[in-house]
Amino acid sequence: MSQYIIRRLLQMIPTLIGISIIVFAISQMVPGDYITASQNPNMTAERADQLRAIYGLDKPPVQQYFIWAKNMLTGNLGDSFQHKMPVTEVISTYVWNSFAIAIVTLILSWTIAAFVGVFSAQFQYSFFDKVVTLLVFLLMSLPSFFIGLLAIKYFALDLKLFPTGGMTSAGLNASGFAYIKDVASHMILPVSVMTVLTIGGLTRYFRTGMLEVIRQDYIRTARAKGLKERTVIFKHAFRNALLPAITLLGFELPGLFGGAMILERVFAWPGIGQIYLASLNMRDYPLMLGFTMFLAVLTLLGNLLSDILYGVADPRIRLK
């Protein structure tokens, strides 16, 4: 097992090199750079040249790539042009805010989707199943900013149940439990909207997985030997139905840190998604490339994680 993990980790190195080359090449092909994107009307040609020299943008692309790659190996992602601070610092400032809502959403949506999926599979074509299916497709097809705005309108403005946006109340100097409580109240709306949006797809996964398992012979055997229906479903069927979903769980890893560009905007949540988007718009290459590589590493690790989890959950699969 550990041999397998080590081998997989080693395999990641050429993959990452490949990704870094592609990502860097694409960034080079995009028209404009930070100097042109900042649209400073007082910028003279001389000043633009000075700035390009300070940022190293005047060097040939191949040389720029190697400087960037070399720095990255030493853990230095460079300084963000926009934020004038190290990229790692920018990422760590914002990424945990995104992580906070993403992890709560993940737990909530997986729990709810598992139960709803199982029940709608167990009572396939029942009224409950039909209502769930309808709801699931309805929620899946709604655009996130629309539900977000609607939620603000009803729950924050009309009913005044939750704050309209942001992560903390302005001017609140609380710490400890009071702080957590404040953040939690701000989190409810964005987390609910995100959960509602992701739950749809997941429910379908669980339902399909469950339906397949329920038809297996060993389930019939379990029922035949007189086991309680609950034991049959949750002990015998559910574990097997989870297998395909486990693969999915590994892929959620980059999503936990990637931020939600649209909803962060709608709810004024100080997450990394908006910062990443701004770095694309502003051609802030160190931040844009650094964060893209960060996500690439997470994606690869997520892949590895889902393979390992699969092996753990299903003894039939041997990882070598």
Binding site: V30, P31, G32, T36, A37, S38, Q39, N40, P41, N42, M43, T44, A45, E46, R47, Q50, L51, I54, Y55, F81, Q82, H83, K84, M85, T93, Y94, N97, P143, F145, G148, L149, I152, K153, A156, L157, K160, P163, T164, G165, G166, M167, T168, A170, G171, N173, M261, I262, R265, V266, F267, A268, W269, P270, G271, Q274, I275, L277, L280, N281, R283
Partner: protein
């Protein structure tokens, strides 16, 4: 990646206009973006002669200006409960709280209450003393002596000294300085030696005594005093600890912990969430009346809601009829619709054979129903313009300016004169070449969306075929730099001073390739002249010439909107003087 890209597209589609890069630079920054995002400004001053009065003068009168709150009893409890604090809604600042490095107008606003400069902008776009109580200019206009106020102190209680000014200048002239200013263009004697590292000091800056500093420049112009006086001295004791010539890292590390001499001191910065400030007891103009000031992050989706619920006291809101109506209906908000310092224009490549003839350019201006386009894009909240200057600027003139009212017959006549004859298929041609214009359009821009259908129809009537291609704004700018374009739409921001390189031959911002030696000469004269009245005349002549040459189709000057909770009084806001310039004198009226 694919998912991310599509997400991006959706986001862009949904929020296209606000996501555009906000290029504010210095306080005097101008922006050139398809969707201009300069900060809002107010228009309390009486405007000079309105530009183009033909377009719905009545509607304009109602639309632009301040509408006071009508019903303060509707003020939500959340707002009235804040008896010693005000909350400003803002797009998230980037955390660059240092006047040397800040870039977005949101960081500029916060720095505006922390770092005062030696001079400050007045409501009419001219300047007056701020932290300096006297400025002496030598006979030859090359030496500027600044006398810093005796009572000017940093928030830590230490006095602002002449040596702090020198220190700040050194930071600007440092070879690793990568902020938005162009300090070497100020021509300070000895600056480039310091920049190259061949000198340890800037020979042109002399510390006369603790509070007096003199700066010598090798060449002066009208902007010299503004550039030199616009500097906010940083405390050498605070910022200079780790500074070595050629490395500003230690200075940048303090970007999130600013320390200045202004009316407010920063107490807390939570990235992306809020910036908390408290009144600085040492401020030389007297401690600010609102004790606590909070800049809270809002987005265009939450800013109206937060004003309504009383969570914020002030915010910039996109100007359109729906928003204005909704804000006014809340009753407890002062709604200020202010002229924006900038203008939108359709650029024509003056070097392209299609547009070299001035008659063709004039015809294209006459032949486009600009009033209709502007009305479709902004309703009553923008006006058609005919010179590239804000009508609230001291340099503005309406004298001897052709208004190019929509006149297709005149346009046709001009095209005939220019030798473009209508061909058999109804398209004009000259020397066997069809008159076909390739328009590079940006997607999801309200002006472009309004412009293209009207322009296509208007020009078809003239016998000109308009072909549009949709491109990313940066791609259009790249085509522009190569001179490989025919037409595109963009907008300029305007500095309080009319000096610009947009219309001078090969100027850094000359997008259209326009060149007229007379205009070059006038701009050079205007820049060198220090007398305001003489400058007025010079710029009037330049604008008249540009107006006649029609190097681009000038479109509109639009507006911005500030909504301010009526409980806050004492503002002094004009298109040049931002809301944060008068925050220190604002009071809470309960």
């Amino acid at each position: 990646m694919k998912k991310r890209l599509s997400l991006m597209l959706v986001t862009l589609m949904a929020f296209g206009s606000i996501l555009a890069a906000c290029g504010g630079g210095d306080d005097t920054a101008k922006t050139d973006t398809t969707t201009p995002t300069e900060t809002a400004t107010t228009d309390n001053t009486t405007t000079e002669e309105p530009a183009a009065t033909e377009e719905e003068p009545a509607a304009e009168g109602d639309a632009i200006g301040l509408t006071e709150a009508t019903d303060m009893s509707a003020n939500p409890a959340a707002a009235t409960a804040r008896t010693d604090s005000a909350i400003i809604g803002t797009t998230a600042p980037q955390g660059v709280f240092n006047p040397l490095f800040h870039q977005t107008s949101y960081d500029v606003a916060i720095d505006g209450v922390i770092f005062p400069s030696l001079i400050k902008v007045k409501g009419d776009g001219t300047y007056e003393n701020d932290m300096a109580d006297k400025i002496d200019v030598s006979e030859d206009n090359k030496t500027y002596t600044f006398h810093i106020r005796d009572d000017a102190k940093f928030s830590d209680g230490t006095p602002v000294k002449a040596s702090d000014y020198l220190f700040t200048m050194k930071l600007y002239m440092d070879s690793s300085y990568d902020g938005q200013s162009d300090p070497l263009s100020w021509n300070v004697v000895g600056a480039s030696e310091y920049n190259k590292g061949t000198a340890k000091d800037i020979s042109g800056i002399k510390v006369v005594d603790d509070k007096t500093v003199s700066v010598t420049v090798s060449d002066y112009d009208a902007m010299t005093q503004v550039n030199l006086g616009g500097i906010a001295p940083l405390s050498e004791a605070y910022y200079g600890k780790g500074y070595k010539q050629g490395d500003l890292t230690s200075v940048k590390e303090l970007n999130t912990k600013p320390m200045g001499a202004g009316p407010y001191t920063m107490t807390k910065y939570s990235a992306g969430q809020e910036v908390d400030l408290t009144a600085n007891e040492n401020y030389y103009d007297g401690a600010a009346k609102v004790k606590n000031l909070i800049f809270k992050t809002t987005t265009d989706t939450t800013n109206m809601a937060m004003l309504q619920s009383g969570e914020t006291d002030l915010d910039n809101i996109t100007v359109n009829e729906d928003n204005v109506e909704e804000l006014k209906s809340m009753g407890f908000l002062d709604v200020d619709v202010l002229k924006n310092n900038g203008y939108g224009y359709v650029a024509m490549n003056n070097k392209n054979p299609l547009f070299t003839d001035v008659k063709v350019r004039q015809a294209l201006t006459y032949g486009l129903n600009r009033a209709e386009v502007v009305d479709a894009a902004y309703g009553p909240y923008a006006e058609v313009i005919n010179i590239p200057q804000s009508d609230v600027s001291w340099a503005y003139t309406a004298d001897k300016i052709n208004t190019y009212d929509y006149d297709p017959e005149k346009a046709k006549q001009l095209l005939d004169e220019a030798g473009w004859k209508v061909g058999s298929d109804g398209i004009r041609e000259k020397d066997g070449k069809k008159f076909e214009i390739n328009f590079s359009a940006t997607a999801e821009n309200p002006v472009v969306d309004a412009l293209i259908p009207i322009m296509t129809e208007n020009y078809q009537e003239l016998g000109i075929k308009l072909v549009t291609e949709t491109l990313d704004f940066n791609a259009i700018m790249e085509k522009k730099d190569k001179g490989d374009y025919e037409m595109f739409f963009a907008a300029w921001g305007l500095t309080p001073d009319p000096d610009t390189t947009v219309y001078i031959t090969d100027g850094a911002q000359n997008n259209s390739g326009y060149s007229n030696p007379d205009v070059d000469k006038l701009y050079a004269e205007g820049k060198k002249e220090l007398d305001l009245n003489k400058r007025k005349e010079i710029y009037a002549k330049a604008y008249q010439q540009i107006n006649a040459d029609a190097p681009e189709i000038l479109m509109y000057q639009r507006t911005n909107m500030l909504a301010i909770n009526g409980r806050l009084d004492g503002w002094d806001i004009t298109p040049y003087k931002e809301y944060y310039n008068s925050l220190h004198q604002v009071e809470i009226a309960q």
